[in-house]
Symmetry: none
Subunit: 234 residues, 2 copies
DNA sequence: GGGGGATGTCACACTCTCGTCACATGATCG
DNA sequence: CGATCATGTGACGAGAGTGTGACATCCCCC
């Protein structure tokens, strides 16, 4: 049984999330106020916090910061709900340390799936599986937003990190540029698909020795591949 | 070209949706009755169903449930249209399995964005159903866009891959050149049917040991056969 | 207010793909 | 056995798809 705290002021969304998370076997607490959220989080120690960026009383960023500052709630994963154009970079970046974010408008079903994924990771944490993913010469710490290539830490921007993780999560499957735009930039980003190319290029530059993990599939999109040089058939 | 089934009884909304979806390049079928919608969905296999929660004959939730129960329509994404205060909670998420919902009154632009996003993702889900196909000496990974012949990976262009998969999906049935043009190249084929020959040739070249899977049926077209060696002459 | 990093966009070069043609080969039928 | 049509093959040029560097803009931090 996992406990989830939802900090969200839209009644419709409140109901949908509440109902479905309960249906999924979680214990749910809902509040519409940020400060109340911080207080509840400290008292109840939920396993995950769903946090709207835009709240009636205080900014979601502030809530997130307070959660990450207080020892009781520091380890709790936070998923932010953001509108387009809001300060996504700060949210996911090192400053606030949210574990994931979803850009509004989003598919509710997708959000629920994502929450489950994060909770799975969390549980794995308790055992001995990895919140830290190691993959050949690449190591990813999703929580801390850090990566290493052959043991050397590489600094990525928030976008680059999100792009890498998105590719990694669907590894061995081609991702079209539009699919990447949806997942990384959000569904209502009116952005050229060429932008993806540019960021892939920047990502590869920084990955250096691990650049071959990101493969181009001409005419289709990009693919994160398990074994760059040696195409190992199962 | 994607097909969208609209189940909606308000004439005004019908018109707006029909117009805008067509404008967005979709093929649209409209019905005002839920049961009719279920029937149409099974017959036409649309790529997405837009479903009003409040219908004259049966509840939208019931329609949704039936769609998700029947194997022919289980994989089809459903977007629910609801009024504020209607039982949104049960609709989305995992109980009824609708992929997303929109609350009336909604912005058409937002609805279109959601539909596009779901369609992009929906295709990916289809691939997930059977990601890896093994067939004699041939192995196809649709999700990754990769194939192996006797364990060795073969690089195909996007077109060649699509041609192979199309032939495979209709295996043991002859495909005329124009049928292949429609399925692989798209409806707007101002292309010589001879082009098919050339690409079949290129495909065979790359398939090497597996080249005999693609059979020529003289005077008709091509066929992907199960058992290359025993091509029984009539 | 200035500096610097992050991000989106554009233009250009280059590679590869793909459609088409011309010709070779092979099959079918009288 | 030859005529004729269907298919296989190779070559070529146009065009699309992609990588790359440069630039403008925005925002944060000092």
């Amino acid at each position: 049984m996992t406990r989830i705290l939802v900090v969200e002021d839209e009644p419709d969304l409140q109901r949908v999330l509440d109902y479905n998370l309960r249906q999924g076997g979680h214990e749910v607490t809902v509040t519409r106020l940020g400060l109340e959220g911080v207080k509840l989080a400290r008292e109840q120690r939920p396993d995950l916090v769903l946090l709207d960026l835009m709240l009636p009383d205080v900014a979601g960023t502030e809530v997130c910061k307070q959660l990450k500052e207080h020892p009781a709630t520091r380890g709790t994963p936070v998923v932010m709900l953001t509108a387009k154009g809001e300060e996504i970079d700060r949210v996911v970046g090192f400053e606030l340390g949210a574990d994931d974010y979803v850009v509004k408008p989003f598919s509710v079903r997708e959000l629920l799936l994502r929450i489950q994924a994060i909770l799975r990771r969390g549980r794995a944490d308790d055992e001995e599986l990895e919140p830290m993913v190691e993959f050949g010469r690449l190591k990813i710490d999703r929580g801390a937003h850090r990566i290493w290539v052959e043991g050397v830490e590489i600094e990525l921007t928030a976008l680059e990190f999100k792009l890498l993780v998105t590719l990694y999560d669907r590894r061995n499957r081609v991702q079209t540029r539009s699919a990447l735009l949806d997942d990384v930039w959000g569904i209502q980003a009116d952005i050229t698909t060429r932008t993806v190319d540019t960021h892939v290029k920047r990502l590869r530059e920084k990955l250096e020795a691990a650049r071959d993990y990101v493969e181009t599939v001409r005419g289709v999109g990009y693919r994160f591949v398990a074994t760059p040089e040696e195409a190992a058939p199962a």
